[in-house]
């Protein structure tokens, strides 16, 4: 197969911080960049063409065919989100199904698909080995909400990859991220952090920069397959809390996690999803050797450095402050002008 270079790229879910950063990094590297989401993007509008489209509707298939998209970067996958489980299921499973259906038609122009997944797909439990490699997803285990959704989603993607051999599919299982707005980061930055008594799990983190870089690299350097993406090394939960300047308080009972989650929500105002409660007692650590050997790239930040970066407030703020209305108008104007300018030379030829 001749080396394929992406020409017309569609990024779904550009309005989330990771999507915005990926779009910003992809913009200088690909000729045509389109983004879609159901809410307006807060940044990176200038470099791409934004389409207001919901992945849960079949409009995405029409979009792909109309725009002759050859590379789809599917980032509209919710993992850490305050919304209720039902809508996460809708977005992750039904949304992905729609995107796949849109790409699957025999006449489809799509040649590459990059799907974002998460380390949560492994689901933390004590009977698991210390490291997860890519083939260790647990199908026979009763998985909790998001884990089950992600497993279902990945199964759809792998079925798609089997049926459409002309399309190279990459699945990135991103490690836990601690930027300012994730649940884990908010939990770790509490002054007194309630932890599960008797547990001090290993944490493996991924810096936001590395997450975006991993997506961009898998779009450009086409390598189909499933990849674990996370920083080198691990830190213990107590270390992470110490780095953030907090104090671990082992007050949550080790059994009956849902009760602890209720208590946390009532007392500390932190809503801890079920998968995070499992991770905070047993930990999820992935084996990222395939990423290094096949993509030839290793995340720049180790787990420890990611934590230090968060603690010193140097973690790059991906979300620019929401622009005031005038600025939005200005950006729309700039985009239209840019399009007009692109159309002019085409008309002359």
């Amino acid at each position: 197969m001749p080396p394929f270079s992406p020409h017309r790229v569609l990024v779904t879910g550009v309005s989330n911080p990771l999507g915005a950063e990926v779009a910003r990094r992809l913009a200088p590297q690909v000729p045509f960049l389109f983004g879609c989401d159901k809410v307006d993007p807060v940044s990176a509008l200038e470099e791409m063409d934004f389409v207001h489209a919901d992945t849960r509707l079949s409009v995405i298939g029409k979009l792909v065919r109309q725009l002759k998209i050859d590379t789809v970067v599917h980032l509209a996958v919710m993992v850490d989100s305050p919304t209720e489980e039902r809508s996460i299921h809708e977005t992750d499973v039904i949304g992905t199904m729609n995107v796949l259906v849109g790409c699957a038609a025999p006449s489809s122009p799509v040649r590459r698909l990059v799907v974002k997944s998460s380390a949560v797909v492994y689901g933390a439990s004590p009977s698991d080995p210390s490291f997860f490699s890519e083939d260790m997803t647990n199908w026979d285990k009763p998985a909790s909400g998001i884990t089950r959704d992600l497993l279902e989603m990945e199964q759809l993607v792998s079925e798609f990859a089997l049926r459409n051999e002309h399309c190279g599919v990459t699945v990135l299982r991103l490690g836990l991220r601690v930027s300012e707005d994730t649940t884990l980061a908010r939990y770790l930055s509490l002054p007194i952090v309630p932890t599960f008594a008797g547990f001090d799990p290993r944490l493996q983190l991924l810096h936001e920069d590395d997450a975006a870089e991993a997506v961009v690299r898998s779009v450009i350097g086409a390598r189909p397959g499933v990849f674990n993406v996370a920083g080198d090394g691990v830190i213990l939960l107590s270390q992470a809390i110490g780095i953030m300047g907090g104090r671990p308080a082992p007050v949550l009972p080790p059994y009956g996690r849902w009760l602890s989650r209720l208590g946390l929500k009532a007392l500390a105002g932190v809503e801890m999803p079920a998968h995070l409660a499992d991770i905070l007692s047993f930990g999820v650590v992935m084996d990222c050797t395939r990423l290094v050997s096949e993509l030839g790239w290793r995340p720049a930040y180790s787990t420890r450095q990611t934590m230090d970066a968060l603690a010193s407030g140097k973690n790059v703020d991906l979300v620019e402050p929401p622009s005031p209305p005038q600025e939005y108008e200005l950006q729309v104007f700039l985009q239209q002008r840019r399009r007009r300018r692109q159309q002019l030379p085409a008309g002359r030829n």
Binding site: S125, P126, S127, D128, P129, S130, F131, S133, M136, F196, A197, G198, F199, D200, R202, G233, V234, I235, L236, S238, Q239, A240, I241, G242, I243, P254, F282, V285, R304
Partner: protein, 344 residues
């Protein structure tokens, strides 16, 4: 006078000097503070004096100064470790070597004074490179693992940490999972064994698993089935020599008379033992009996002549597992003969 002022001024504006805020609040008077500083030295001197006097009077070593120094060292080390805060490194398995070594003083006391462990053949353990240690498993709680770890760390010419593999149900228990991970244990999963061996570690496995620890007192020193020989195939794949270990003495620490299966199932435990002391005496029943221990490391069984593909040869694997089992069983009988009595 003027010169002095200038010096004061310079000191105040100097960038080099660290600015230390004056301590707020109540401070003890100076002589008491000095006394506080010197207290450990004075105490040590007093204890030394006392021990010589007592020796002169009674003619025996009443206070063992070495032992006291060890306790002092233990306390000091714990304080130092607490001071490092989050600034320490654990390996990918969550192993904290400095912390583990600080606890070794306590385990050394058990090893030397409580169970009076006699270790032979520790020179069979390689001073570098990988090896798979295979031992018999007995006693209700895995004290035999801690004693093998202590034996290799204290008796070997080059102290090394042994990484034991633990049944996954213990990894799900609060406190225990934290302690096991922190002291370098991993989950008893072929994948973990392979990874540890590839890092050239010493890996300790108990192929009997909870079948060994949960057997009754009447079955003592009779080895159970050695799993399905998974440890042999892992050793062949990783090209690691197998070192069989016979541990005598661990069977008598908790003589298990009966197993209450339903209670065990209620708490999610592999077995619930009834011993002469547990659960009748409450937490006191958890104190192991001071039996006399012997640990023998046997000569390594080399697997370097085998091809990694031989690991799939089930016949060869089972035969090798049986060989290892025979060596350990014979070692048990020999060491039982060498032991004068259960508690001597």
């Amino acid at each position: 006078m003027i010169v002095q002022e200038a010096r004061e001024e310079r000191r105040r504006t100097s960038k080099k000097a660290e600015i230390v805020a004056p301590r707020q609040g109540f401070r003890l008077p100076r002589p008491i503070r000095r006394l506080q500083r010197q207290a450990p030295t004075i105490a040590l001197r007093a204890v030394g004096e006392l021990s010589t006097r007592l020796r002169d009077i009674t003619g025996r070593n009443v206070i063992d100064l070495n032992r006291l120094m060890e306790v002092a060292q233990f306390v000091y080390q714990q304080r130092e470790l607490a001071r490092r805060g989050p600034n320490f490194m654990v390996d990918d398995f969550g192993f904290d070597p400095a912390w583990t070594e600080s606890l070794l003083i306590a385990f050394k006391a058990l090893y030397r004074d409580y169970w009076r462990v006699e270790t032979t053949g520790v020179e069979h353990v390689p001073s570098s490179g990988r090896a798979l240690l295979v031992a018999n498993h007995a006693g209700v709680l895995p004290w035999d693992g801690t004693m093998i770890k202590t034996a290799v760390f204290t008796e070997h010419s080059r102290p090394r940490h042994v990484r034991a593999l633990v049944a996954s149900q213990f990894m799900g228990m609060p406190a225990l999972s934290w302690f096991l991970r922190r002291t370098g244990q991993a989950v008893g999963h072929p994948d973990d064994t392979r990874r540890l061996l590839e890092r050239d570690e010493l890996v300790l496995v108990f192929p009997e698993g909870t079948r060994g620890t949960g057997k009754g007192f009447k079955d003592r020193y009779r080895l159970r089935r050695f799993g399905r020989g998974g440890f042999v195939s892992t050793a062949i794949r990783a090209q690691a020599p197998i070192i069989p270990i016979s541990v005598v003495g661990s069977e008598e620490i908790y003589p298990m008379l009966a197993d209450l299966g339903p209670v065990a199932r209620l708490f999610g435990l592999p077995y619930f033992p009834l011993t002469p002391f547990w659960p009748w005496l409450g937490p006191l029943g958890l104190i192991p009996l001071p039996s006399k221990w012997r640990i023998q490391f046997h000569a390594p069984i080399e697997v370097s002549h085998l091809d990694p593909k031989d690991a799939d040869d089930q016949h060869l694997v089972m035969a090798m597992a049986d060989d290892v089992r025979d060596i350990i069983q014979r070692g048990l009988y020999e060491n039982l003969k060498l032991r004068r009595g259960v508690f001597l």
